[in-house]
Amino acid sequence: LAKTTQPISMDSYEGQEVNITCSHNNIATNDYITWYQQFPSQGPRFIIQGYKTKVTNEVASLFIPADRKSSTLSLPRVSLSDTAVYYCLVGDFFPNAGKSTFGDGTTLTVKP
């Protein structure tokens, strides 16, 4: 199993760029890296996914170095509504998905 490690918490201010790094030293060849966002009293929500290099969508960017042992979620110009817990997930598709492991999550607090 590819275990992941993330910072427990991060603080930021509105308008700043936030980078959250996830370490996954024993990532397997078939594993993808997925980030989820969770607001209080809600289920996690998909943000972005990648395999290598850089992926960008309307919400975030994901940077993955060549060795794939870590990944960085980048949130541009955060707002108060970005305050949430962010999870990194490393895993494959079913049936191996049953062995995927979520990181412990990073609680991002955006201040005015």
């Binding site: 993808y32 997925t34 989820y36 009293s41 809600q42 289920g43 996690p44 929500r45 998909f46 996914q49 395999y51 817990v85 999870y87 895993g91 494959d92 598709f93 079913f94 049936p95 998905a97 049953g98 062995k99 995927s100 492991t101 979520f102 412990d104 999550g105 609680t107």
Partner: protein, 113 residues
């Protein structure tokens, strides 16, 4: 139009009781999951289920059993509830292909007294 729904939203019960949580998805996905999130927000997978293949997290007590009447439903039965079972339980589904994206339900908050 909820993609993944769970019932009930809240469940308060006594130790030793047996309870069930229902999950339904209308996304046409063929893979479903159950997760447990404890008070520290750690999110742990319990089961994943694709058609008739079940993948069980070996740390899950056998008091927990998933049951899938059809591809759109994956229910969670819990026997002889214990205090430590108190948590939020999330159902999720995915297409099962590569790459995989999971869609989560709103969660069921279980409190065992």
């Amino acid at each position: 139009d909820t993609a993944v729904s769970q019932t009930p939203k809240y469940l308060v019960t006594q130790m030793g009781n047996d309870k069930s949580i229902k999950c339904e998805q209308n996304l046409g996905h063929d893979t479903m999951y159950w997760y447990k999130q404890d008070s520290k927000k750690f999110l742990k997978i319990m089961f994943s289920y694709n058609n008739k293949e079940l993948i069980i997290n070996e740390t899950v007590p056998n008091r927990f059993s998933p049951k899938s009447p059809d591809k759109a439903h994956l229910n969670l039965h819990i026997n002889s509830l214990e205090l430590g079972d108190s948590a939020v339980y999330f159902c999720a589904s995915s297409h099962g292909g590569v790459p995989e994206t999971q869609y989560f339900g709103p969660g069921t908050r279980l409190l065992v007294l």
